[in-house]
């Protein structure tokens, strides 16, 4: 069992949006196609590739742009007073990083590439101005913002290791599916340590959890690749956390 295709975005051009674009749906709904956006001089810069381990921004850097992930995975984290890393989230193609910086003028966390990452950066003042003209885009920005906050709920509460792991996998599966990638086969680009840190579990608990899921026929694991063999059962395990 190995992954057929790594999720890599189809590149857009002057006329078409990238297939993983975080904003295309919202813009199209409002009747703004890519040509129209171009006329509005919304500056969009494709940047990257950033190689594994490269930082996209660091805590305290001045905030001037938000960025959508076109390809790869980005991890955000902060470091506590004792120097311990706390993973805040993982961002997949089509997802937007830097949203939590909107309320201040500096990035409140670090962002690092977990594999080769391509970004689509756009100036925040520009898109904010555009949003005032496009109510749909504004709504979309708010939606993205609340999703970002919503992720934190995944970790609160008194849930078992298996429930957390199931919710984590279901969340990834839904997010990949939403961008047109396989719902059941994907590669976890984050390390076991990162997953453990994010789910507030011990590293050994993560591998024991994956082994239990594999032994019961719910998933199949090969190194960092995973296949969901029984997504329904996984959803059921995750339901207490994800609720819908």
């Amino acid at each position: 069992m190995r992954l057929k295709n790594n999720p890599i975005a189809d590149d857009g051009d002057e006329l078409r949006f990238c297939s993983t674009c975080a904003f295309s749906a919202a813009c199209m709904e409002q009747g703004y196609d890519k040509t129209r956006l171009g006329e509005l001089h919304v500056l969009v810069a494709h940047t990257g590739p950033y190689t594994e381990g490269m930082h996209l921004f660091r805590e305290g850097d001045p905030f001037d742009a938000i960025a959508a992930v076109r390809a790869g995975t980005v991890k955000t984290y902060v470091t506590d007073s004792e120097g311990r890393e706390q993973v805040q989230g993982f961002f997949l193609p089509g997802e937007v990083i830097g949203l939590n910086a909107i309320s201040s003028s500096r990035y409140p966390c670090n962002a690092v590439a977990l594999d080769p990452v391509m970004l689509c950066r756009f100036s925040f003042p520009d898109i904010a101005a555009l949003a005032t003209r496009m109510p749909g885009l504004q709504q979309h920005l708010f939606r993205l913002l609340s999703q970002d906050i919503g992720k934190a709920a995944l970790l609160a509460g008194n849930f078992t290791a298996d429930e957390r792991l199931a919710a984590f996998l279901v969340s990834l599966s839904r997010r990949y599916a939403a961008r047109g990638f396989s719902r059941t086969r994907f590669r976890l680009t984050m390390t076991r340590t990162d997953i453990a840190n994010y789910l507030r579990l011990a590293s050994e608990s993560v591998s024991r959890g994956f082994r239990r899921l594999q032994d019961t026929g719910i998933v199949m694991v090969d190194r960092r690749e995973i296949e969901l063999l029984d997504p329904a059962k996984l959803e059921a395990m995750a339901s207490s956390i994800l609720r819908g």
């Binding site: 057929k4 976890l188 076991r192 050994e204 694991v221 960092r224």
Partner: protein, 463 residues
């Protein structure tokens, strides 16, 4: 395996060529010194980060032998001075301390193999110390299915040795025999009686060893069908769980001890093939299953079961049931297979000693596998373990079109198919019964490192 396989002289001439034994792909000559300790450490770090990190398998090389067997191509040091083992063991303990911290402690060691050389050059209490050193630095499995094995030279076993190994947790032994024919034994400088050997097998059984393996060699000087046939009968009557029949590789330009062997005494290719054929016939008739290449096992042995369940694997120790382990090689010349890499310790004792004494992990050379290496390694692994390749499985796993990808090997495979060695079907590439004797030749069609060189004296002849 059909019992009557014939090769005509022309075929023999064509296929009796040098080729790798594929205990790894890429093979050791492709390893390079650019891959050192830092690269190996990074590979180890990555394996710790897998979702379910693999269990560990540890190979410890004990290079010392009391006397030189002339056929031997292993890395070994001939000495009767048993005091040489103490400094070697203290350096091994140091190497263990250097390497073990690279691996998360929640990774169980499910396999330990002591190979050589002659591991029973060490006294049981020295092996006890070695195991304690492993236990202090790794998480040795307490599971009954763990596989702790040791290679033994029956000529140098002392009373009670085998019971001591069993007490240390060893449950599988591999005994060197080669051939009982006294004429052959003198020609290769290894005189070993049937009684000694049978006593060792009994001692293993009495001490509760789960599995006993016997090594034989065909193609030795002065070997005859009659004499080798008698050896085969003696061995099969003792019912070891596994029997390995290795082809003798005469490469005196590389292995100095082999210069003691008179080339005129060696059987010709047809004679060698007849010896192999005899072995296959006798062993299959005695109820042994031909696992592949040079290995045979009784139907209820772990190897046979692993082959049935598709979990058989081939590595530097031959065929093994532990497919999903990262392999850590310790000691002079030992080879590791960690994550997507191979690496090897220095072949010469002084170089290994210097590195360990400096507190450096003694990695001499290695290789990080590319995507292409991994695809080909998988195909060759399937060939060696199942004598066939599942085309759709490979296409699906690597997202390739099989025959597009292996277009360069197709012409050679078609030649093999014309010669009745392989069948090229829609679903699989499968060795025929005569092709199973030449798996190396079939595997070579998928080897991307052979194309450059035509003459390769580094590899032994395939028959």
């Amino acid at each position: 395996m059909s019992s009557n396989i014939t090769f005509d002289a022309e075929l023999l001439r064509r296929y009796d060529q040098p080729g790798p034994r594929y205990t790894s792909y890429p093979t050791a000559p492709a390893f390079a010194s650019e891959f050192g300790a830092a690269q190996l450490r990074e590979q180890a770090r990555r394996t710790n980060q897998e979702l379910i990190p693999r269990a560990l398998s540890i190979y410890v090389h004990v290079p010392f032998c009391f006397s030189p067997c002339f056929y031997c191509g292993c890395n070994r040091i001939i000495t009767r001075d048993t005091t040489r083992s103490a400094p070697y063991l203290s350096r091994l303990a140091r190497e263990i301390e250097l390497i073990a911290p690279w691996f998360d402690r929640d990774r169980e060691v499910v396999q330990v193999h002591l190979g050589g050389g002659t591991p029973n050059f060490l006294r049981p209490e020295q092996i006890f110390d070695l195991m304690e050193s492993l236990r202090a630095n790794f998480h040795l499995s307490g599971n009954a299915k763990r596989d702790f094995s040791i290679e033994l030279d029956p000529r140098f076993l002392r009373e009670g040795d085998i019971a001591s190994y069993a007490a240390l947790g060893f449950s599988r032994a591999s005994l060197g025999v080669q051939d009982f024919d006294p004429v052959v034994q003198r020609a290769v400088n290894r005189e070993q009686s049937v009684e000694q050997t049978l006593a060792a097998i009994s001692a293993c059984r009495d001490s509760g060893f789960r599995s006993v393996n016997v090594d034989l060699i065909y193609g030795l000087p002065k070997q005859t069908l009659e004499g080798f046939g008698r050896s085969l009968d003696t061995v099969t009557q003792a019912r070891p769980d596994r029997i390995a029949i290795y082809g003798y590789a005469h490469m005196p330009q590389i292995f100095k001890a082999q210069t003691q062997i008179d080339e005129a005494d060696l059987p010709d290719p047809a004679g060698k093939l007849a010896l192999l054929q005899l072995a296959i016939d006798r062993l299959t008739r005695a109820g042994y299953r031909h696992i592949g290449m040079d290995h045979f096992a009784l139907a209820d042995d772990d190897l046979s079961r692993a082959q049935d369940s598709g979990t058989l694997h081939r590595n530097f120790m031959g065929y093994t049931t532990h497919a999903d382990c990262d392999l850590i090689g310790l000691g002079v010349s030992a080879i590791s297979h960690i994550g997507d890499s191979f690496s090897q310790n220095p072949r010469e004792l002084p170089a290994w000693e210097i590195a360990v004494d400096r507190g450096q992990p003694p990695v001499w050379r290695g290789l990080a596998l590319s995507f292409d290496d991994r695809v080909r390694a998988d195909v060759i692994q399937q060939l060696m373990c199942n004598a066939s390749v599942d085309i759709a499985a490979i296409e699906n796993r690597y997202d390739i079109d099989f025959w597009d990808y292996f277009a360069t090997g197709l012409a050679r495979l078609e030649q093999l198919a014309d010669d009745g060695l392989v069948e090229l079907g829609q679903q699989r590439v499968a060795a025929t019964s005569r092709g199973r004797l030449l798996l190396r030749i079939i595997a070579m069609c998928f080897d991307n490192y052979l194309n450059a060189a035509t003459a390769r004296p580094r590899y032994s002849r395939v028959i």
